[in-house]
């Protein structure tokens, strides 16, 4: 019994499983969700594919990984093509993936979406980075194919419109291998050219684009290298790729998007009629402004004349008034006028003097009469009236105060209050008077 039993070595059974699995699960399609994505430094991508209940290890070796346009990330639903292989040293099995595609969306589309998100995060589409497209550029650079529809369309617009522009073409491949590098290099070349040429020859705007085509044909304009060249350009860039419905990464990075190359050309090459109208309009505005200035100037001159006239009149008035005032002063200062005045004054003074004199005299008179009265009261004659008399020795008319002064026979005159007596002394008594 025991001899009957077959004992496998680990290697044998592992080899058996490997054979079995590779027979059964070679070149299969597997659908799942990526999880635990681990890119190695050697370029191989390790991850798990999982669904609701199971997990399958998977690997994409670097030679296959190079061809995958989009980035793998956890949670991405994918469809993988490959074979199950066993790794004997670990006793594990895994799906060796040759091709991988996102589920429900094309690889390119996914790659585009992923790049959009990445560049968006970096700020390549930011409105504040967009440069203004110059009006009426004299030198226009075009990055496109020399034989494509784009350049033909642009030149047609040029013929229809204003032709006084210098168009410089950088002829590039717009699709296929090397297209993205050529486009990016041409954009850089134009910027470099601007650094070396005369300032007047500088390219003022770039049109980067191509005519319509399939999404694969337009793919170069979705490439990161082209996007970065547009972003780095100091010259404003108008992106003009294919037909209206196709929005490329270039469109998003460019300073302006034109739906087609013709539209791009129309943005920078104005219509001749519009320019003519503009010149006419400017000429008219200039004439109006000048006429206005002229009218202003005439008005100003008239105003100035008016003001001058007013000022002159005012000055004249002032001078006249001053003259009149001086004349009046002068008139008043006329001596002929002053003399009667002075005469009047003198008269007045004389009158006043006379008055004062009269007054003075009256005063003196009244004083005098007082004095006279007083004197009258002192008059000896008044004493006489009281019965006294005064005797004068004649003829000397000497008042007799002593009887002894008279002699018998002397003539005397006696003054009484009323009248006088002339007498002759008959006796002289030198003591008491009753002896008379």
């Amino acid at each position: 019994m025991i001899e009957d039993r077959h004992i496998f070595s680990v290697t044998e059974i592992t080899q058996g499983i490997r054979l079995l699995l590779s027979k059964q699960y070679s070149m299969v399609w597997v659908e799942g969700e990526i999880s635990n994505f681990r890119p190695s430094s050697s370029g191989h991508w390790y991850f798990s594919l999982k669904d609701e209940t199971s997990v399958l290890s998977g690997v994409i070796f670097s030679r296959s990984a190079r061809d995958v346009p989009f980035k793998l990330e956890d949670g991405l639903k994918v469809v993988c093509f490959g074979s199950i292989d066993v790794y004997p040293p670990r006793g594990s099995y895994q799906l060796i993936i040759e091709r991988i595609e996102p589920k429900g969306i094309g690889s390119l589309q996914l790659a585009l979406e992923q790049l959009k998100i990445k560049l968006e995060k970096e700020g390549l589409f930011a409105p504040e980075h967009k440069k203004e497209i110059p009006y009426l550029p004299a030198n226009i650079g075009v990055v496109t194919s020399a034989t494509g529809a784009a350049i033909k369309d642009i030149l047609k617009v040029l013929d229809r419109r204003f032709r006084d522009v210098h168009i410089i073409i950088a002829a590039v491949k717009v699709q296929g291998d090397g297209a993205k590098e050529e486009i990016a290099d041409a954009i850089r070349d134009f910027n470099e050219y601007n650094d070396t040429c005369d300032p007047g020859d500088r390219i003022e705007v770039l049109i980067v684009g191509r005519g319509g085509g399939s999404i694969e044909d337009l793919w170069a304009f979705n490439e990161e290298t082209v996007a970065r060249a547009i972003y780095a350009s100091k010259i404003p860039v108008i992106s003009a790729v294919g037909h209206e419905r196709d929005v490329t990464i270039s469109d998003l990075v460019a300073d302006r998007r034109a739906a087609t190359p013709s539209v791009a050309a129309e943005i920078v090459i104005p219509r001749k009629e519009d320019l003519g109208d503009q010149v006419q309009d400017l000429a008219l505005r200039m004439k109006n402004a000048f006429d206005g200035l002229l009218a202003d100037s005439v008005q100003r001159r008239e105003d100035a004349l008016g003001r001058l006239k007013l000022a002159m009149e005012h000055i004249w008035q002032l001078n006249r008034q001053s003259l009149e005032a001086t004349g009046q002063k002068l008139f008043r200062a006329n001596p002929a006028l002053v003399i009667p005045e002075h005469i009047d004054k003198i008269r007045e003074r004389a009158r006043q003097i006379a008055l004062r004199l009269q007054h003075f005299i009256a005063l003196k008179e009244s004083r005098f009469s007082g004095m006279v009265e007083k004197m009258a009261s002192l008059n000896p004659l008044n004493i006489l009236s009281r019965g006294y008399s005064v005797t004068f020795l004649m003829p000397e008319e000497k008042i007799l105060k002593n009887a002894a002064d008279a002699r018998t026979g002397s003539s005397i005159r006696t003054r009484l209050a009323d009248g006088q007596l002339i007498s002759t002394v008959t006796e002289v008594h030198s003591d008491g008077g009753d002896k008379v």
Partner: protein, 76 residues
């Protein structure tokens, strides 16, 4: 003034119009500007009528210097 580009002439004309519209010029200056403006507007009109297109191709020579070569439209 004959060599001036349309866009340059237009810019100058615009500047003159603005200066005249601001109105703080002396009559002499205004007259001078006005005459220049007339000349510029004539020049613009002439340029519009007689403009010649110029199309070149940008290339680099062996020394790495840029060169402009006339573009033949037949190529396109």
């Amino acid at each position: 003034m004959a060599e001036i580009k349309f866009e340059e002439a237009l810019k100058r004309l615009e500047k003159i119009v603005e200066e005249l519209e601001q109105g703080d010029l002396s009559l002499d200056e205004a007259l001078k500007k006005y005459q220049d403006g007339i000349e510029l507007s004539r020049l613009c009109t002439a340029r519009l009528e007689n403009a010649k297109k110029k199309i070149d191709v940008l290339s680099k020579n062996k020394k790495g210097e840029f060169e402009l070569k006339p573009f033949s439209e037949d190529e396109a």
